[in-house]
């Protein structure tokens, strides 16, 4: 399974405002597909962390055991 978490105001868009999910990756699942399945507007996904590395390419495939974190913009205040 792939462990997925969402942070910032992306949690607004997910079912019941859940923040943690498990996805079966099979042969590999594109980050953009996970974003789509969670109902997140991709334009608002400002930061993607895959296994501790920041990635910018939404076509990257995640694999079983990966940890994916998705965040909205981190503004001040």
């Amino acid at each position: 399974m792939v462990s997925v978490s969402v942070g910032g105001y992306l949690g607004f868009y997910t079912p019941r405002h859940q923040r943690k999910f498990q996805f079966a990756a099979g042969e590999g699942l594109a980050i953009s597909e996970i974003v789509r399945q969670l109902g997140l507007p991709q334009a608002e996904v400002a930061l993607v962390s895959l296994n501790g590395d920041v990635v910018e390419d939404f076509s990257i495939l995640v694999r079983e055991g990966d940890e994916l974190k998705l965040f909205s913009v981190t503004d001040g205040g």
Partner: protein, 633 residues
Amino acid sequence: MFGSSLKILRVDLTNQTMRIEQLSEEIYRQYPGGKALAGYILLNELLPGVDPLSPENILVIAVGLLTGAPVSTLPRYVVSAKSPLSLGFGQSEAGGFWGPEFKLAGFEAMVITGRAKEPVYLFIKDGEAKILPAGHLWGKLTAEVEHTLRREHGDDRIRVLQTGIAGENLVRYAGLTNDLRHFNGRNGMGAVFGSKNLRAIAVRGNGRYQQLAANGAGLMEIGKGLARRVKDDPISWELQSHGTLGLITPFQAAGMLPTRNFREGLFEGWDKINWDAYEEKIFTRNHSCYACAIRCKREVKIDGKESEYGGPEYETVGVFGSNCGVGDIEVVARANELCNAYMLDTISCGMTISFAMECYENGLLTQADTDGLDLRFGNAEAMLTMIHKIARREGIGDLLAEGSWRVARKLGNGAEDFSISCKRQELPMHEPRGKFNVGMGYAISEIGADHLVIPHDGGFANDQTYQFKEGAKLGMQNPQPAKAFNPDKMKHFYLLEQWVSLENTVGYCFFGPSPRSFIRVEEVMDSINNACGWNLSVEEAMLIGERAINMARLFNLREGFTREDDTMPKRLFTALPEGPLSDIVISYEVFQESLTELYRLKGWDPQTGVPTRQKLESLGLGWVLEKEWSRLA
């Protein structure tokens, strides 16, 4: 009516006299409260070169055009004076309830001059004011002062703005609090209170904002609509859900969580200070400012008892947590409570302690200097002890009460590189190496390092984001990534800075208007125009913001600031040692080119940063030219 009583309360503490002055609508239309009105008064009345802790300094407290309107995110007021920390334009905003209460007591601003012979406080009620003795309040923690004043006046609804023991002791980063949990933290305005022997200003107002507004019913409708939308908008929903505490986790993931005095961007104890830890260990409930439906503030319990001082926000968690190497949210909550009881700015206090920790680890301070404290990063008890010492100016606290910049110059031997400050004010908890325009904001801000100059980079990276679409209404073009400097980003900065300056003038919280938050540009304009009836356009509103920026700039130029002051500390021009940002370096040369471009956009001399004659005249600031040009040119 146009949203203001136009009344300024003038208080001369030396002679113990007061009078009320009436502004003209013509002047108010150019300087409609807050930052703009404070700048106008200071530039007109304060002589350059005065000691900020002398009786000659002038304190201005001003609400905005919209402060106190029955609409979410409109509680703000500004406190302004020459800053004892930066020695430049001092400006610090706060929310809470004091600003609306002052406005509804019948005033737009207060100008406080001189110095009382003995400690005093002011009591203002519905258009009348008194200067009263405060000897019995001197030396007391802020909660005791608030309780005492409410009890003595027999009114629990009195709103108290006050400094604390830190302000009495002239700590250069002493702040002000209202309702014990809303803060004019930055720039040392509490020390200016202390220098005037002024401990507090208690206010009670029974007016209604609608009586001041051109169209009070229209404003009510806007207020109701926004209150209904808070839970249906992603940004306000997030602010209500997590306040500002949702930032720790993404900053750690991005490698930009300020750690050990900005030496690093990753903190091993991040999950001991993030929202999950906060919620599990200290959170009790949400709290609000005046008329605001977001309720982003947090109340907390410490040792099982609800704190009288509210809960720490992100800045405080960052500065006493990762930045001092302390991975314990309960310790952070105690540090927050101590600072608020003494009334220290948590940012400058935490950053001065982390500076001292780095000096200690590098042998520039020893246990002989630190009163025996083992002041290494992560020593929570030493950190808490240091807060007491600074507020009371005891032992090494007397030195650290001067702020990191001054201590660094005193220590020498490389300590200068450990003071992470701009214009002598310590950095907030946002890492410029991950969002370059935040660094530009730190550098160019007239008040020294400040994270609320513009909405932060990251939301303007593509043309489909909500932030960019709202920015486009202000004239923004060409999306840009966070980690870049180029002419388009300077144009973004130029426009956003004017808009935020307008917010600080009319009374908005940073969490109200877009692009940062959920109130659309046209809703902001509708609110302003329902209040004042002037039918202002976005362009005219931006001009008000730009005028206020230019006045603050002129204030600093009079004080001798130059282009050399518009920079970041050396450390921020180097790469972080590890993590996602370890390959990012902000080039000093590119930074300087961008600064030149920004000066050009602002209508300032591209080399010196002095506003041109033409620019000042176009902003209606010709009167400054006549007064000051020979000094500035």
